[in-house]
Symmetry: C2
Subunit: 221 residues, 2 copies
């Protein structure tokens, strides 16, 4: 893909970085501390709000310039029967989470926010046209006059095989579960316990790259 | 996993090798030439029959011994509206396949055959019990008296985003499509064009490791 735009992934997750590389995008990683605030307990709202806060914090820290910038923020949670499961705080909590997910279906939600700040020249003209009008005459001195935003989420349902206590103990002792929402990583050894999914697989890993590419491409090409 | 059994993957596919490593199995790769013969045009039968032929050819080439051996054969096809798509013979055929899959759902079928030849000792006793009876008294000299077999298939439905002619040309020119059934690899850059799936993701890559592990574990642990 021709890179007329500087793409920034606002996430420290190595898995999100791999996924964005996998679909052939050229990007940098920048992370800003955000105080996470949510106005809802619905998983789809939580991940959308947190993805927006992460993207906004990174864009706010970037000096304005004439370049086109696309910032991608993302957040993932696991939800079981309306209850959000984040990252486990201890091996005991990881085992409890896995026990609660055993033999059942749960939802994985990833929220994504794309913030696009057009620079100057033809890309800016195209961005104005996309907004539905001509460009404002004269861009503010050293300032941004408009930012395009898309925020969405994808949900993937994941069905686990029934897990025995030995399997839970074995997996928890591998340590693979500790930095992951819901206490499992679908892309590792845990694949042996996954019966199937419905939705985008990469959404479970941390980034719905199918939808992301489809949403971003009209701004990038 | 404790390896009381020698595990052999009867497939040259590097993707199947990666998947089997991912779920933590310790195995070797052996491939025997087979003359592929199928008695049906149903995708689920085709992949089951071919997986069995591959596994049988490898087991037949192994000298009998006192060790426990598990041979895993697999075969994958893509089916669109009842029509089987294999590997494309040319870039033009790859483009035609992708055009036919664009914006639609198709099925990916992987057939798996597990052949288990128990050696001697407690594992053999367990295998006899699994068959439902005591072990035959006295194993034939240098010969195999029984082999356990499981053959099954998994189907995963995959939905593509609509593909433009430019996207098809771009992907075909990457060369990623040429050695793959249906002319795409879900685990590479093509992920940007995949809307979602239903079933086991790894089945699309080439091996349904969730089902495979569940089926094999009663013989292995």
């Amino acid at each position: 893909m021709r890179n007329e735009t500087r793409i920034i992934l606002a996430s420290a997750s190595p898995r999100r970085r791999e996924l964005l590389s996998q679909i052939g995008l050229d990007f940098e990683v920048m992370v800003s501390q955000v105080e996470e605030k949510v106005s809802s307990m619905l998983p789809e709202r939580v991940v959308e709000e947190l993805s927006a806060q992460k993207a906004e914090a990174v864009l706010a820290a970037l000096p304005d310039s004439r370049e086109n910038v696309l910032v991608i923020g993302a957040d993932t949670v696991v939800a079981l029967e309306g209850q959000i499961l984040g990252k486990p705080g201890s091996p005991q909590e990881a085992a409890r989470m896995l026990r609660s997910l055993s033999g059942k279906a749960h939802g994985v939600y990833t929220g994504v926010t794309l913030l696009y700040r057009p620079g100057e020249g033809p890309v800016r003209e195209a961005a104005c046209a996309w907004r539905g009008g001509p460009c404002p005459s004269g861009r503010p001195q050293g300032g941004t006059d408009f930012i395009l935003q898309k925020t969405f989420h994808e949900r993937t349902d994941v069905v686990f095989c029934p897990l025995t206590e030995e399997e839970i103990a074995f997996y928890v002792s591998s340590g693979d579960c500790m930095d992951k929402a819901g206490a499992y990583g679908i892309q590792g050894i845990f694949a042996r316990y996954v019966k199937g999914i419905r939705g985008d697989y990469n959404n479970v890993v941390g980034l719905p790259v199918g939808r992301l590419y489809q949403e971003a491409k009209e701004w990038l090409i």
